[in-house]
Symmetry: C2
Subunit: 709 residues, 2 copies
């Protein structure tokens, strides 16, 4: 499949198959839009019915064209598309947009029809966009290759590039963001069912595109989801933020899976994990795209998340503080020197605590305003400034804006403004801020949220840099692989833990005994107290069969228990295959955690962590990461869950061995990668996490092997 999308966005010639003389229809619009937006390349309407449309010569077929067009727009009934695509192939067409609907989105026969198109695209190496999409707009290049209401408008070219799987919504985002939000786009493409070129192909291209600074994505689902990690990392390295929707988050009826890990995950948990791992900024609404986009366009990144708030409205200051803190920022106290400095020239200040509540007087004296900004900017505790001007307008507003713009131009720390005066009455001031790239917002909440998005991105950059510097743990075990090869039934307890042990994950001391004497010998080696459990592929519920005995203190107890367990097992299920009796150490103390692996068909192996019991099962308080997981990422995962304080000594407990826990997660990630052809799901439940320095031990484990049909 073609991936050099430069030619796609800048075609020298475009053919429109199915072009119609009814310019209001879907097949009539594209020619009109290309012409009205002054497309500079050659246009070939293709329709045997017409000699010309809008004065442009119309051709009977693709074959009849005088040249091979760079892009073919296909606007005909779904049933006839395959034939046309074949003609494209024969003609050597590099790119086609298929607008037609009626494919995988309708299910049934549509799915097969889409597969047929994919095969043709493959055969002829055609880069297909769509089907079931609304086309592409390259604003800077004057290519409006699609249909829909928003194609009727002109747009200023900017540096934001967007790919959207939804045509209608994607077009709305561009239109509203550009026209009402002042966020200007460079190129926008809608991809529909994505039989060929995918959202990630486009994002990949946008990262390489020197004219693109900010990338926006609307994602319903990715067929090549694992690539999100690679693409996201590339975007981070290029410092091009990706703002993305991931929708379909509440869809019910997800098939219940056999393991906790698979039940607790689902696509959304993995997308969230991937977004966090590579710093993709999740957006909820169009306003977020505008607000965050404008934040990033300031061209500065704060060193950290500590904001100094300067306000003339105490109320707005409180609102912004709430928003910043809720979104993970700090509103720290100023350094004493800063407070002294402010006090020296602004004796009438309402409050020198952060948020700094200034009186309106500060606006009457540009020098005072400048000194205030400088004092806060130079505070070592402060990484950015958010200033609140309420509804200030008129002559004084322009003076204030000029002063802020001048200070911002010389400052490496971002200055954001919450300014509620309407554009109509304050355009002069806003123009000054825009020229100096000072982001400004109509409400303190939007301002705080945008600044928090910027700060979150900076943290993601740092996290990613640290993770990149770490060695990825690679552990291989041919023994584990051969244990699992060809296996179709679940691997439980003893055998599953033996596999964990191959990867250096701590397990309880245990051995299988096939005679009472052997059992007692093992117990002697492990040391009392011990537990005895029958091992039988025919008895999955050992406790129910009364084939488990815990806390056995001495040989006499263990011997009696051995006999009893075998008796009960046989009574429970006649003819049960008994592999032996597991003699296991009794674990005391420790916090119960749960670790897991889910081998997702889109993301590949992912690792899960949660605390045991209600945390995971009732509260779904778990964290996922896509493998490979390095140590710092494992630590980030551990700290992410709400129950984290349980590990750091809440309720008077000992501080848990978080380092060993992180190490176990890293090893589990290595296992998941090494065994990715064999392990479908894996649960370690419980994993005992002991006090600092005492390590972890898997208490029980279950592996669901990959079963091939």
């Amino acid at each position: 499949m073609r991936k050099d999308l430069e030619r796609f966005f800048n075609p020298r010639s475009i053919a429109i198959v199915g072009a119609s003389q009814d310019l209001a229809t879907i097949s009539g619009q594209p020619l009109k839009h290309l012409i009205s937006h002054r497309y500079l390349g050659r246009i070939y309407p293709v329709n045997p019915k017409y000699p010309e449309i809008l004065g442009v010569k119309c051709h009977a077929s693709l074959e009849a064209l005088p040249e091979t067009p760079d892009l073919v727009m296909v606007l005909i009934n779904a049933a006839r598309v395959a034939e046309t695509l074949r003609e494209c192939g024969k003609k050597g067409v590099p790119y086609a947009i298929i607008f037609s609907s009626g494919y995988s989105e309708v299910g049934g026969k549509g799915v097969d029809m889409q597969l047929e198109l994919a095969a043709i695209a493959d055969q002829y190496d055609i880069g297909v966009v769509g089907p079931n999409c609304q086309g592409m707009i390259n604003i800077a290049g004057s290519v409006f290759a699609g249909f829909g209401s928003v194609y009727y408008s002109d747009y200023d070219a900017g540096s934001v590039s967007m790919v959207s799987q939804s045509g209608g919504f994607g077009c709305s985002v561009m239109n509203l963001a550009a026209k009402d939000g002042g966020l200007n786009f460079r190129q926008v493409v809608t991809t529909g069912n994505e039989l060929g070129v995918s959202s990630l192909d486009f994002i990949d291209y946008f990262i390489d595109d020197p004219q693109t600074d900010i990338i926006v994505g609307y994602i319903e689902g990715l067929k090549d989801a694992h690539r999100l990690l690679e693409i996201g990392a590339k975007a981070l390295a290029a410092k091009k933020p990706i703002l993305a929707w991931k929708v379909g988050n509440t869809v019910q009826g997800q098939k219940a899976a056999a393991s906790h890990t698979a039940n607790l995950g689902g696509a959304m948990a993995l997308y969230r994990a991937a977004f966090r791992q590579v710093g993709i900024i999740q957006v909820d609404d169009i306003q977020d795209v505008i607000d965050y986009g404008r934040a990033f366009q300031c061209g500065k990144l704060p060193a950290g998340n500590r904001v100094g708030i300067i306000t003339i409205s105490g109320g707005a200051g409180i609102l912004m503080t709430d928003e910043c803190v809720n979104r993970g920022m700090q509103v720290p106290q100023l350094a004493p020197a800063t407070t002294e400095r402010l006090r020296s020239f602004v004796p009438s200040f309402g409050s020198l605590a952060n948020p700094i509540d200034v009186t309106a007087g500060i606006f009457n004296d540009p020098d005072l305003l400048k000194m205030t900004l400088h004092a806060v900017l130079e505070d070592p505790n402060i990484d950015s400034i958010a200033m609140i001007n309420a509804s200030l307008q008129g002559e004084i507003a322009t003076k204030v804006a000029a002063e802020v713009a001048a200070v911002a131009r010389e400052s490496a720390k971002p200055i954001f403004m919450s300014w509620s005066a309407r554009d109509e009455v304050n355009s002069g001031a806003y123009a000054l801020l825009d020229a100096a790239k000072v982001p400004h917002y109509k409400s303190p909440v939007r301002c705080g949220r945008a600044l928090a998005a910027l700060s979150w991105y900076v943290e993601a950059l740092h996290r990613h840099e640290v993770a990149r510097g770490e060695t990825v743990a690679v552990i291989t075990s041919s023994q584990a692989r051969s244990t699992l090869a060809g296996r179709t039934d679940d691997v439980s307890e003893y055998a599953a833990k033996q596999i964990l042990a191959q990867y250096g994950i701590g397990i309880t001391q245990e051995e299988i005994a096939t005679s009472k004497e052997q059992a007692l010998a093992i117990a002697g080696r492990i040391g009392y107290p011990v537990a005895l459990k029958v091992q039988s592929p025919d008895i999955p519920h050992k406790t129910e069969a009364k084939a488990v005995r815990l806390g056995l203190a001495a040989d006499a107890d263990a011997g009696a228990a051995y006999d009893e367990i075998l008796r009960n097992a046989k009574a429970y299920k006649t003819g049960a295959r008994i592999e032996g009796v597991l003699v296991q150490e009794m674990v005391s103390g420790g916090i119960e955690a749960i670790l897991g692996v889910t081998n997702d068909k889109l993301f590949g192996p992912a690792v899960m962590f949660g605390l045991g019991g209600i945390f995971a099962e009732v509260l779904k308080d778990v964290a996922f990461r896509i493998a490979p997981v390095t140590k710092s990422v494992a630590l980030d995962m551990i700290a992410e869950i709400k129950g984290y304080p349980v590990l750091t000594g809440a309720r008077g407990a000992a501080h848990a061995d978080i380092d060993a826990l992180a190490d176990a997660i890293v090893r589990l990630s290595a296992l998941a990668l090494d065994l990715k052809d064999h392990v479908a799901e894996l649960d370690i439940n419980p994993l005992f996490v002991f006090a600092r320095g005492k390590g972890v031990k898997a208490g029980d484990a279950l592996i669901k092997p990959v079963v091939r049909n």
Copy 2:
């Protein structure tokens, strides 16, 4: 204090004390604004320095005025306000707005100055608004009595009334909501420090005001917070929704309290509880006020929370589904009859599941659109419709809007629209929707959020109606009151539970023994196994003193334990006062919950519920309600916590006795009210909640008495 605010908002005459000829200043603006907005009453500038301002005769003093003004605006230095307020009093002025700053907001001497003003206001019965505020606007009455940028504009009068404790932010809200959001206000008042007339006084007045339909509040903190319940209930009865900010939610450094209940609460938890109890809709940003305000202006309330989504953009449909479901709505399947009906005339539909993905074809045929809307509206599973038109514009858009408007006019179920075409290109269609009161939003997220706010309000109305129909439990215990009267030290375990028992809350069986014989007799009555615990005011940590023995199975064990406990207690603390040994039943089974009372100085007694252990302590997963709490409210509290599934049989446990738990909460609420002069804080921790039908039992309790200085 005066509370008839009709005169305040419609003064026949206004005096401006401190009026200035410099019309740009705070003291110069008010006269200018009154005149430019064509105030119809008489205006009296008061300033001995000037003969006239803007052609209006200026007076030397309040005393010199030819009449008693209905409203005095005070715009002078804080130090001189008390004198002016006294003059107001002597003259019989009913209302004064004090704009001056430098009072409680600066602390120290300012607090005393404000107290002085309050005393004067009280003495002369002056309704004082402020100090430290920006005044009042009555748009319909042409009274612009204040200063600030937004006073320079004209506004259309509407039916939204707002009170804001923040001047700057409140004014910004009105300005942006009215001018950019099309939400028109009737009257707006900013109240600053609220030494006299409070936010709740204003809300109370707005409820009574026949011209007000929707009330907006910006709240930093209420001195009369308990009244929020009464005012909220009154607003619900009048079906006037209150949209409110409560800010200051993340302020750190709240003083740590002694009990769990007080630590887990804090002002914000109680505000949230009160908002839920009386259906006050919390807003986060200005856009919410606009969007929710426009939702309520449709004049229809859905019967329930089940929305039918009709969309031409699959992507937007998913986004709206996510938003609706996240905010507590249902997107249910259509009734089979509806699906059949749709299929009969719209064979080409993309998807007949909800969200209903319609093809663009539906817009080309007004009859089809009408039939689709009717089919969904008449579905018994559907309470409201949200329709998504993407960026539809042009002639067809106007036709669609006309059809939707016609259907909406005849429908009792609300129809909301997400329509992303810009106002500029779609004003005709939007005017038709506005005329039919069909709320429309630029994004599916905003549309879904607004519809969810409407649905939440309907649920709050239902909840409140049910609660109003219930009898409030009233229980009095003179014995409990006399136990607590004058008490300054904590009341623990035995005595605290005896008080609970007075209110019918189940407690463990237990009695105090002062001899070994008595202990054995009690144990005999209770039945073995029992626990023995020393009771001494000098030994708060009984376990540490080894003065607790659990699970005693027979007389011999109990007798030995009795001696041992006394020996250990005496060894632990020489001279400890021993009140006896508590003989207590051993509780087995049950889920550990925690109940509490906090007697808040603003809200009065409030009741807390949570699950024990990490739920409450680590996750802060608790629910509060202001007393009195009826049964249905108690059940709502119980269902509110995230750990709720633990009570309904999660992890294979028995379904807990939620009915008995709710009953205990109701009784605790009765206790809190009966003992409100005596109980500062109360914890029941743990409360054992047994399986359905088996009730609850307080395992331990602690009461912190109210201590008067």
